[in-house]
Each structure stands twice: as structure tokens, then as C-alpha cells.
Symmetry: C2
Subunit: 181 residues, 2 copies
Amino acid sequence: MDTSSLISSILSRSSLRRFTSEPVSDEAVQTLLHAAMAAPSSMNLQPWHFIVIRDEKLKLELRSCLPYAKMLKDGSIGIVVCGDTSLYERVNRMDGEDNTLYWVQDCSAASENLLLAAHALGLGAVWTGVYPLESRVSKLQELLRIPSSIVPLNLIVVGHPASSAKPMDKWDATKIHYEHF
Amino acid sequence: MDTSSLISSILSRSSLRRFTSEPVSDEAVQTLLHAAMAAPSSMNLQPWHFIVIRDEKLKLELRSCLPYAKMLKDGSIGIVVCGDTSLYERVNRMDGEDNTLYWVQDCSAASENLLLAAHALGLGAVWTGVYPLESRVSKLQELLRIPSSIVPLNLIVVGHPASSAKPMDKWDATKIHYEHF
């Protein structure tokens, strides 16, 4: 493996919010979702689901109900990453503890894989928040006909970048602690 | 950028749980944390903190209080990824909504970057869960002297792999939906 290439890809990825009218190919979407599904998950439950949105009317409705999704236009598509909370019922009974919220971590790891894969393909992407804001969760469940046990985590907008972005160097040594906080 | 290299790295990463006695270098730890800090975060708050644990006595205590951290031995080190919940007080007041739990998603994205960077460096790593299980959170806060506003999300064990792992192909077309769930 080319070590420096992977690390430099991680460091050079940045949120992109302006897209051209060129559509995202089906093949690219498959690659993005393949990468997303390669994420680790608690008890290997793989709680993720993905809703791919190309329909212009749905995109318009998403733009109007999510305050930070204004860039879902032109050639860009939406991918809503959701978690299936029903998968935890059995393990919670066995475990005596509530593991349900692990879906958030697993779907977030899948989302980061998706963003990195978009960057690798020369696409741009931005993660816009839905969960834990109840008003956004219920709007998306209604609009996208998502069952109540499936919770939308975010809306990732993916498209061909209209401009390049300068990645931020977010290195901060004060965030690192040794042995104790 | 070598597209296929990044995508294949994401697809070939797998949890590793057996390590040799070779220590993880300080340089590698810096690279892992640099990659982790390159993750996106809600409102760019970068809520993450990282506690790097090499001390053998602390490792033994972590092994005894976390049921899935038995592999924290030999040359491996622990990295506890934490989120600073106090950062959200100001934005919540401005916003009228509770954004605090975004720390979980941001720290999970940082954790996935860390796992991928470990894989790129030829190291092995495994994410072991802490939050949302309150008993594990409070034990780690006590043991690692973490203030109450800082919440440990996980313990990532990193080491030189004692064996290779066969990555799982987790592709599942039934997880993909178009336009509606």
C-alpha cells in the first residue's frame, strides 16, 4: 500500500459546497457506498442504510427543510445515511445494557469513509447534520418515508466540485494527553 | 491522487486484535492523531481530545474495567478518543436547539480516520466501545482523570499486527434505497 497517499488523502479532504451541473455517475455512487459499508460497527451489526436522492423535486424539498442543505442543487445528489435501531433489541436483552446508540458511531464511521471515497474519486462532498435534532429527523422520516425504527443521521451532498477547497490544517497539540487527561 | 489506492485501503482495513511486542513509535502516534484531527466536525468545533496510554499499569487497569479491551497488551497502546461537551453551550444558546450530541459523530469520524491511518502505516487497530454505556464512561473518567464535561467515546487499541486479517466484504445491496426508503 502507498502509505503517504492514504494519509495525504485524509489530510487533504475538505468539505465542498459548490458543484457543477455534471451528474454523479451510478458507478461512483456504488463505489461511495461500498466504502461506507466497509466501516467497522459495534458487534458487527452494520446498522446503516443509505437513501440516494437524485429526484429534483425531492432535492428541492430537502433544501427547504434542512437549513444547511442549500447546496443540494445542480448536478449534486443527496445521500441520507440512516441507522436501524431495531437491530439492538436482541443484544440489549442479552446484555442488560442499552447499546442502541452505537448506531450513531457506526453510521458516522461509514459517513467518513464515504467522504474520503468521494475525495479519492475527485468528487466533492459535505456532511450536513440531521440527528440528534428531532425536528429534522421527523421531517426526513416523513419526506423520505422512513420507518420510525430507522433514524436519519445526516444528509451528505455529493457532486463534481465547482471550485477547489484549501484544506485546513487542524493539528492542535493541546488536544493530545499522555496517560491521563 | 491514486484513487484506487485510497479506495482499496478503505476496503481492506479490518479490526485487528493480536499484536507483537514491538512498540508503536511516537512518530506513528503523531501521524494517527494528525489524521484523526483532519475529520470534519459540526460547526467546525473540533470537539475531540486524545489520551495516549503506554503505561503498563494503566493498560492493565483498562483491560480489567473494559470487557473488550483484553488485547491491550504486548507492544500495543491505547488511544482514548473523548469529546468536549462544554463547547456546545454557546451555540445551543444561539440556536435554541441542543447540538451537544454532535460530539459523538465528530469523534467517530476522527476515530475512523485514525483506524484508516493505522492501516496505512501497516499497524493494526481495533475500536472498543465506551460511550454510551454509563458504567464504562464513569470508570474511564475516574481512571484517566477526565473532567466531567469531557466524555470518553472509545478506546482504540493500536499495535504491530501479530497476524494478518482477512477483510470482510460487507457490501449489501439491500441497504441501498433510491429516492425513498
